[in-house]
Amino acid sequence: MKKSDVKLFEIAKKLRGLQTVSTIAKTLNIKKRTAINYAWKLRKNGYLTTSYARNKIRLYRIDPLRRKKTGYSLYNLINKYSKVKISAREDYIIHSNKEPSVEEVLVRAIDTKEFRIVLASLGLFNKIKNWSRLKEFADRYKIGRQVGALYDVARKTMKVKRMDERTRKALLKSKSEKFIIKNFKSKNFNDVERKWDVFIPFNKQDLEVYEEWSI
């Protein structure tokens, strides 16, 4: 952790509670101008929220516990891209330097092996920008054929961008488990199942949620 972050946290601890510019200046024994700068830094890091008193004086509520949350929630990312929204009982937060791409989110969603999340992931195929990156992530999680099979299912039920042929061939050659979700098989997508040698966990009825956006 940076020294400046530690210092800011210590300041937040010292100023915990309701403050004004004057009280910050007095507590820290600094000028009012510097107190305003500190307030700005504290707000930027999520420690400070502003409200106004009757006489229009700014009141700062400072709480060292209220730190800006870091990381990217996988379910929030799925909801951002998919039209079918999910609400998960437990949150999965990815701590990385940059936001995971839609290709990574799609592969991770399929890899959860949870019915509702895999179902929501179908909506992400239309947002894919880089097919080779999708193949790369599918290989990393060893679910290449599962991704390909689910793409075909998505294409049958909704409007989805065309996958480039090279990625399609590569996905067909890749290795992955037969079951996307353990013991779940489809009654309606047998052709896709045969082609990709993967069991699709959905029936046509399950995909009715996507009807609104269908072809």
Partner: protein, 223 residues
């Protein structure tokens, strides 16, 4: 002392060093920081379900400059001399890691606790699962530090505690590792209610007291 930012940085460093995915559970103050219920903590407590994973993390901590603290800081009551002792590592900046394997002294990391996990944080290859506030309270009752009482109190204020979970898990623990766990829990909650004016429903205390008395009677009958 380490705060949430510092803790996350440490987890990131460990996650980068790992060459395979390792899962662990954050308990105590570490878990409370993730819930924004605590500003900083003395020790980062992690529970592992695989011995190999714990050893791997220990090696990485040594590699990044932490040293194994052989002398044990007495936090938990009912310490047995050799059994279930955590690995305690101290870092350069005074942060401390307590690494547990399956059991937290007399408290077993049960499947029910794992099923109640609220948040999972991924730091590259390190996956940290945060146990529920109810389970943090249950674990706090195994310690004898005053600040743990305040921590439990803060959790009760911040969260709408599901007391059924606490009662059920206390009973579950009697089948696993600690036969008299409800007795200690009753002691702890009663103290919180009387001395710290904690908002604990009377019928919950009555229920735990009844379970404790029955357990004690059974134990005496066996003797």
């Amino acid at each position: 002392m380490v705060n949430i930012g510092g803790q996350e940085e440490l987890f990131k460093v460990i996650g980068r060093e790992l060459n395979r995915r390792i899962e662990c559970y954050a308990i105590g103050g570490s878990a409370m920081m993730f819930y924004q219920a605590k500003a900083d903590t003395q020790d980062v407590d992690l529970v592992f379900l695989e011995k190999g994973d714990l050893e791997k993390i220990k090696k990485i901590l040594e590699r990044i400059g932490c040293i194994d603290k052989k002398e044990l800081v007495k936090i938990f009551r009912r310490y047995k001399d050799n059994k279930n002792r955590p690995i305690m590592m101290a870092g350069k900046n005074n942060e401390r890691f307590d690494l547990f394997f399956k059991e937290i002294i007399t408290f077993e990391m049960s499947d029910t606790i794992a099923g109640r996990v609220k948040e999972v944080h991924e730091f590259n290859n390190l996956i940290v699962k945060i146990i529920s506030p109810e389970d943090i309270i249950l674990l706090k009752c195994a310690t004898e530090r005053e600040k743990d009482r305040y921590d439990a109190l803060r959790l009760m204020e911040k969260f709408d505690i599901n007391w059924d979970i606490i009662v059920d898990e206390a009973v579950n623990q009697t089948k696993l590792e600690s036969y008299l766990f409800p007795v200690y829990l009753y002691d702890f909650l009663e103290e919180l209610k009387e001395d710290f004016k904690a908002d604990i429903p009377r019928d919950v205390l009555r229920k735990i007291r009844k379970i404790s008395e029955d357990l004690l009677v059974k134990k005496l009958e066996k003797k």
